[in-house]
């Protein structure tokens, strides 16, 4: 999502709240869904989290004066809301741990250089695996590696120093690699 596109969206939101919001939903639906899926590991949860995120954004935007809307950093702002939605839900449910199913490998790690994009089922498995990470590592890994934010952006969003984020991402990836490897050995 380019920042130019974000600027267009915020301008649209400031002058035409209805049309602007419609454009925002179409522009961000896949991105926020992907984030929610990687965080929760469950398609049903992901849809609810993403939808809740848009609902909250809608309420917030209707209260913000247009000067504030124009300067919003949309991408970070929406991810922040999504993260809050996710955390609130997790708290309410006492964060049930998603069990790993060792019968289904997440990816064909033996695939050659012309590796194909993962199938839908494999992506779900991968999301499931990611959602098994401890929360602080998971948010860092998802924002950095799944959503493609820079370390600086992730650090600002999570309110942690960049060094801490780098360490979390590194540890998170190692854990994922270990668990993915364990999965393929079992299968």
């Amino acid at each position: 999502m380019g920042s130019e596109r974000d600027e267009e969206l915020t301008r649209a939101l400031a002058v035409d709240p209805v049309g602007g919001f419609e454009a925002l939903v179409y522009a961000y639906q896949h991105r926020l869904y992907a984030f929610s899926l990687a965080m929760s590991g469950e398609p049903m949860d992901a849809e609810e989290i993403a939808q809740d995120t848009f609902m909250r954004a809608h309420v917030a935007l209707s209260r913000y004066p247009s000067e504030r809307i124009v300067v919003l950093k949309l991408n970070a702002w929406l991810h922040q809301i999504a993260l809050n939605v996710f955390r609130n839900r997790a708290r309410k449910r006492k964060l049930r741990l998603v069990p790993l199913d060792p019968d289904t490998p997440i990816a064909d790690s033996a695939a050659g250089p012309e590796r194909q994009a993962l199938s839908r089922a494999a992506l779900r498995e991968l999301a499931n695996l990611v959602s098994g990470l401890p929360e602080h590592q998971r948010a860092a890994v998802v924002l950095r590696c799944v959503q493609g934010m820079t370390y600086a952006e992730v650090a600002a969003l999570l309110g942690q120093p960049e060094g801490t984020i780098k360490a979390s991402v590194h540890r998170g990836l190692q854990t994922l690699k270990r668990r993915a490897g364990a999965l393929s050995e079992v299968s």
Partner: protein, 261 residues
């Protein structure tokens, strides 16, 4: 680690379920104003992606994946498009029928295009199968005789190729001219299939013959006009331009309108 990171990037490219955006908008009380849908339709050209809305067909693409179609649609028409697995029967029949050359009355949605583009495309949609007209002809017919180049641009951006037959618009010098959906070779092949002999047109133009007249009716046409094709060989006259035609006492055909009226 590298493989895992690529996989994670893939995870970032998953799509929200079908109808998700519409459900969100519904939940906050916004009725989506945008309701384009698309599906794959089997045609003589192979499987094509066709998009439509309540006004009519809004886009068609022959090549590429569903994702590519969506990206192209959004960037070309500035609005999203939602996929359905099965196209409505009637639409599928209309589209495949029209591409197969059957006479189908199709409705198009061109409302998001500029007024000039709309004029060009609607005029082009009138050109019958088996015939061609020049860019200059389209420009004249829509009352913008000097906008020949702009006609070419509008046709190059035609969001509904084949159904709006931009391949039936060629250069006044008898050569086929550009074709965005596969170049001149593709244009030649489609026209050939429709019964237009591109080589013959080039030869005519090369010999300086722009129009064909009938000695018996004293009417002159563009070479591919169905009236011109009915003229028997002994009565056929090749004419260089309007001046020569008028000078010899010929009047323009009211069907193909070979010159500006």
């Amino acid at each position: 680690m590298e493989l895992l990171e690529t996989d994670l990037r893939d995870l970032g490219h998953v799509h929200a379920p079908e109808g998700f955006a519409e459900r969100v908008l519904g939940a906050v009380g916004i009725a989506p104003r945008i309701t384009d849908t698309y599906a794959e339709v089997e045609t003589l050209l192979g499987v094509v992606h066709v998009a439509w809305n309540s006004e009519g067909i809004s886009a068609l693409r022959t090549a590429g994946t569903a994702g590519e179609f969506e990206r192209w649609f959004t960037s070309r028409l500035g609005r999203p498009v939602a996929r359905v697995q099965v196209p409505p029967d009637r639409l599928a029949r209309q589209v495949s029928g029209a591409i197969a050359g059957l006479d189908r009355r199709l409705r198009f949605d061109l409302t998001r295009l500029g007024p000039f583009e709309q004029d060009v495309l609607r005029k082009t949609a009138e050109i019958p199968r088996g015939e061609v007209r020049s860019y200059a002809w389209v420009a004249r017919e829509i009352g913008r005789p000097r906008a020949v180049r702009a006609v070419g641009t509008a046709l190059g951006n035609n969001p509904i190729p084949y159904l709006i037959p931009c391949h039936r618009v060629v250069r006044s010098d008898g050569t086929l001219g550009q074709y965005s959906a596969g170049g001149t070779t593709a244009k030649r092949a489609i026209l050939q299939q429709e019964g237009v002999d591109a080589g013959w047109l080039e030869m005519l133009a090369g010999n300086g013959a722009r129009f064909i007249g009938s000695r018996t009716t004293q009417v002159f046409c563009v070479p591919t006009c169905s009236h011109a094709r009915r003229i028997k060989a002994p009565n056929r006259v090749f004419l260089r331009d309007e001046r020569e035609a008028r000078g010899a006492g010929y009047r323009p055909c009211s069907r193909c309108r070979p010159i500006a009226s």
